[in-house]
Amino acid sequence: MMGIDPALLISALMVASVPIILAAIGELVVERAGVLNLGVEGMMIMGAVCGFILSVQSGSAFVGFVGGALGGAALSLLFALLTQVFLANQVASGLALTLFGLGLSSLLGQSFVGIRPPATGVVPFGPLADIPFLGRVLFSHDWVVYMSVVAVAATWWVLKATRTGLILRAVGESHDAAHALGYKVRRIRVLAILFGGAMAGLGGAYISLVRVPQWTDGITAGAGWIALAIVVFASWKPWRVLIGAYLFGGISVLQLNLQAAGARIPVEYLSMSPYLITILVLVIMSSGKGKAALNAPASLGQNFHASR
């Protein structure tokens, strides 16, 4: 297809995958702690609307991102309350979170439709940005793009090399054993859920502040579900989240470029391709020798109730 510049494509896919990286890395931590939060979509859209409102009100994109993280975390607190205190079914609670988040966000955002948010500036790298190809690909982004990669690296390091990560994984693999060792299973899980909510909120804010950038109902359009799928794709390993998200980002950017270039395939079929490919990837990862499910945390989705 002519008219698609590879440097532009790579730099666009890095931007396109940021929301999914952020949400997926947050969900990865939650799932490593043994909790399945299916409310990513709801937390993302809450982050998107809170971030949008706060950035418009304050005139600062940074405040918007902080607000997005807080909005996502606030909604995830509801999930934590339901599953950790009221011991409700995690699948149903996650769905409730998504349904409620979609409604509440459109309620909060109704007077903000059609406004442009303040711009999130590109990080000034000076002469580095003028390097041919690499400058365009690596040094022409806003700070959130770099932060998303740093978040993946930091999560990898914390899970692998620190005591905090070890405890988190112990809680996710066997909450009874972790409880017997004296770790506060519930407290650790609540903190993990809050972290997941904040990251999903940040990802949502990136959609409404940078990717689109405006507010419309249902703006996340399934990004939260794709983030959940990416966690399975990544076999619960942080670096693979980055690979999965870039793969997905690449496909969505490519299909948008094909739409713009006037490809012969109808727009609707191009728009459904990211979802189709996500399903395909799930199938590949879940079957065969390298079964992703083998890496799933052993206590995933089970509620913990200390009987003594």
């Binding site: 149903a92 409604g103 309620l107 399934g222 459904m272 879940s286 079957s287 109730h305 003594r308």
Partner: protein
């Protein structure tokens, strides 16, 4: 100090009482939300729950709407509840609903303008098939490749929505529609329409199908070995395996039934109340049905009542939008809230709350 003690078996009293308690709590929290929006909370709650049924001015219009809205919700929720009981999570009913409508309407429109008695029955079969085939994708991927049915069924909704857009702009577009998106109006094509059967009641074939589904599901769960297998697989998967329950068959069956029922709901909607395939044909019944299934405690009779109540919030919500200027999204948030409270108070049926000193004494 408050402690929780697991009950040996769920309390029968609280199983019945928790949905009512959840509704009351939602009314209180919803009232607070409406007050925050600057509306009189008592008036808003009355407009939503009372006026559609009993206000002399609106009831004549609103009462039939109750069955029109409750029909698809109950039909979808009954199907979903079977899977939920067995621990099989089909949350893509919205997509199956769209596909049922597309398949059914496609068959009907293919015969246009012929008048034959068999067109509508054929559309019903096609609608059920459309929903079934869409649910078979996550089901077969789960049984064959062990993929997560929650994610796949949900992702299939987005694919169905794109197909719907493509169909209403392309293949199924009304050739005499002046270029506007959307198909021919099926309610103006007698052989393919699903009319109101008894004037002024809102009763159409979809509502009858919903009642039949409720009765069939009740008999299945209470009297049939299959219903026993479904319940067993959900409560004790290992015991189910020893009892000879075939997990693969159960996934295919539960997903298939829920898909076919969602497809039927879509077909009855497109040929009746909605009338045509259009880009915004689906209004979220497939997702609200999840709330209905839980509100009805995954029990067919409960779902019947829950579906009627949820339909009431839709109609009352529209009325409140019209009368009080309450935003449509507030009702959506209100419905989501209901599911929250329901899940939270469910604690009461599974656990006993003990007040008093902590310690090992109780054990």
């Amino acid at each position: 100090m408050i402690r929780l003690e697991k009950r040996p078996s769920p309390s029968r009293f609280w199983q019945g009482a928790t949905p009512v308690l959840a509704v009351v709590l939602t009314m209180i929290a919803g009232g607070l939300m409406f007050a925050a929006l600057g509306k009189n909370p008592v008036e808003a709650i009355r407009t939503i729950f009372w006026d559609p049924l009993f206000n002399p001015q609106f009831a004549a219009y609103s009462r039939p709407q109750l069955l029109v809205k409750a029909g698809p919700l109950i039909l979808i929720a009954v199907g979903l509840s079977l899977g939920f009981r067995a621990g099989i999570w089909n949350i893509g009913a919205e997509g199956q609903y769209i596909m049922g409508a597309l398949f059914g309407a496609g068959v009907g429109l293919a015969f246009y303008p012929a008048e034959h008695w068999f067109i509508f029955p054929l559309m019903v079969i096609a609608g059920a098939f459309g929903g079934w085939i869409w649910a078979m994708v996550p089901a077969i991927l789960k049984t064959r490749f062990n993929t997560n049915e929650i994610l796949v069924s949900l992702l299939m909704v987005y694919i169905a929505q794109n197909l719907l857009a493509s169909m209403s702009l392309g293949l199924l577009r009304n050739p005499e529609g002046g270029g506007f998106p959307g198909s021919r109006n099926l309610s103006q094509y007698p052989a393919a329409s699903n009319p109101e059967l008894i004037a002024g009641t809102g009763m159409h074939w979809g509502v009858i199908a919903a009642f039949v589904a409720v009765i069939a599901a009740y008999v299945l769960l209470q009297r049939h070995i299959l219903g026993f297998h479904i319940k067993l697989a959900g409560q004790a998967p290992k015991a189910a395996r020893f009892a000879g329950v075939n997990p693969t068959g159960l996934v295919l069956l539960c997903m298939g039934i829920s898909g076919a029922l969602a497809g039927l709901a879509g077909l009855f909607e497109v040929s009746g109340p909605a009338g045509q395939i259009s880009i915004d044909f689906n209004v979220g019944y497939g997702f609200t049905a999840i709330i209905v299934a839980f509100l009805g405690r995954l029990n067919p009779i409960g779902i019947l009542l829950a579906g009627l109540l949820m339909a009431l919030t839709y109609i009352g919500g529209e009325l409140a939008q019209f009368m009080l200027g309450l935003p449509a999204a507030a009702i959506q948030a209100f419905q989501g809230m209901l599911l929250f409270f329901l899940l939270a108070v469910d604690l009461l049926s599974n656990y006993r709350i003990r007040l008093g000193a902590t310690g090992e004494a109780a054990r």
